[in-house]
Amino acid sequence: MSVLEVKNLTHTYSGNTPFVNDAVSNVSFTVEKGEILGIIGHTGSGKSTLVQHLNGLLKPTDGQVLFSGEDIWENPKEIRKIRSKVGLVFQYPEYQLFEETVYADIAFGPKNMGLDGDELDSRIKEICRIVGVKPEYMEKSPFDLSGGEKRRVAIAGVMAMRPEVIVFDEPTAGLDPKGRENVIKIIKDYREATGATVIIISHSMEDMAVLADKLLVMNKGNLCMFDTVEKVFSRGNELRAIGLNVPIVTRVFAELKAMGIDVNENIFTVEAAVNELKRIRAGDGNA
């Protein structure tokens, strides 16, 4: 069942001026309930502009965004309602922390949705358990936390609204490897616990290979691929032509193939690579 449907969406910046520029042009796709959709594309390809339409932060110049079959702009006065159904975690979300305590910061979103008392409290505690914000942090100032912890709190603030769809714009940018791993785990755990649909923008092909079910590829404002991870990463040359690439392990396997070794080239993660090479080793032993 599709939860989001984007139909012929175009977004023009600086319309009616000499600088008119289609940041997104005629893009259509659907997002199925419960899937993880990855969005990749060069810097300036329109990824961030596109996702800001999904919760009504931007209004399409042309085209529609449907949530559960209904146009989110049907009644513009009600547009705020979509924000609790589709949550958006911006780039460097830790810059948006502002409350005096971690607890108050996480509570801000759900409070604005009308939650209070025990309901609010149990919602916050539940989210903190899922994303691993320690109880002893609750009364601390968010500004006293490390960079990775701040980001965790900022993400928890959006998750606490329990959106049906949660969109992350480069959630791992600027984090060290351990921090990246933590954020990926939080996203996976949240989806497992809530069954939410997840949309992620990332420049890391390696992270996408581990996380995503499907990939949407943007190039200069146009959607140029929308398919399973396997299908998209099998088009390495086209990806390179538009400033992207395939995961490093996939490139190692292309090299093995070029050396005349009969490997399956559709290998995108280290785990799959090890299994494939074990299979080959076993096959050689039997031959």
């Binding site: 810097t43 351990k178 092909m205 390696e206 392990v249 490139r251 070794i261 074990k278």
Partner: protein, 283 residues
């Protein structure tokens, strides 16, 4: 005496709400002229604090830093130190000041009070060095992230520093942008002899460096050639770091009984290593 930078027993402390934090602890490090060094470490390991001390933005609490023989502690040397060591930061949008590319690159040399003809020459040379000369009349906000970051690098190069210190310059870039920055740095290092110190969280960017320095809790915990450093997969993981995906693959193969060595990093070498392991299995 071919050290460009000498960090001698340096400690850096800062105070917040009466608690004293030590970001860098009694650290010593020599950087050779013309070398390419990558510094790795988790967030909060002291890398950026160290980087900012190299051009005098931060001053050591204890110990000394000599840049080309000059002590960064001495206020009188401040401008000279900044001229010798240029810094590039994470977000290119925060580093560009003008609305035309060549004017942006000219900003530094103009402030050095150079003759207009000299400025012209330096701007052209700097833009050519980062392969952005053809964009000299463009406006920075119309460029890609990688291009903007190369303009930021050109702005520093135009001041003709001896050393470039880059603090996560690729964190916000796409794969092509990252590759552009790394190849630009290699070119500047090889062709112009500029000493490069690169801080990054992308392990594969360390592949082409002469030397990798790993920091943890304000101290250097290992220091050596990239292949030597990445061999210690478990030690790196223990301090919140990772290894390039090639090394990760070889390490996992080794654990599964393949006779591969983990001290290669490039894709080609990794493939050769795997191929020869498969061949020896056959025999």
């Amino acid at each position: 005496m071919d050290n460009l930078i000498e960090v001698k027993n340096v400690t850096y402390e800062y105070t917040d709400e009466e608690t004293v934090h030590t970001a860098v602890k009694n650290l010593s490090l020599n950087i050779k002229k013309g070398s390419f060094t990558v510094i790795l470490g988790h967030n909060g390991s002291g890398k950026s604090t160290l980087a900012k001390m190299l051009n005098g933005l931060n001053k050591p609490t204890l110990g000394d830093i000599l840049v080309d023989g000059i002590n960064t502690k001495d206020e009188a040397n401040e401008l000279e130190v900044r001229r010798k060591v240029g810094m590039v930061f994470q977000n290119p949008d925060n580093q560009l000041v003008a609305s035309i590319v060549e004017e942006d690159v000219a900003f530094g040399p103009e402030n050095l009070g150079l003759e207009p003809s000299v400025i012209r020459q330096r701007v052209d040379e700097a833009l050519k060095a980062v392969d952005m000369y053809e964009f000299r009349k463009s406006t920075p906000h119309r460029l890609s992230g990688g291009q903007k970051q190369r303009i930021a690098i050109a702005g520093i190069i135009a001041m003709q520093p001896l050393c470039l210190v880059l603090d996560e310059p690729t964190a916000m870039l796409d794969p092509k942008g990252r590759a552009e920055i790394v190849s630009t740095l290699i070119k500047l290092n090889h062709e112009k002899g500029i000493t490069v110190i690169l801080i990054t969280h992308y392990m594969e960017e360390a592949e082409k460096a002469d030397r990798v320095v790993v920091m943890n809790d304000g101290e250097i915990i290992s220091d050596g050639a990239p292949s030597e450093i990445f061999k210690n997969v478990e030690q790196l993981k223990a301090v919140g770091l990772d290894v390039p995906q090639t090394t990760e693959l070889l390490y996992n193969l080794q654990k599964n009984g393949f006779s591969v060595s983990t001290n290669v990093i490039s894709i080609k070498e990794a493939a050769c290593e795997i191929a020869s392991a498969l061949h020896s299995e056959e025999k």
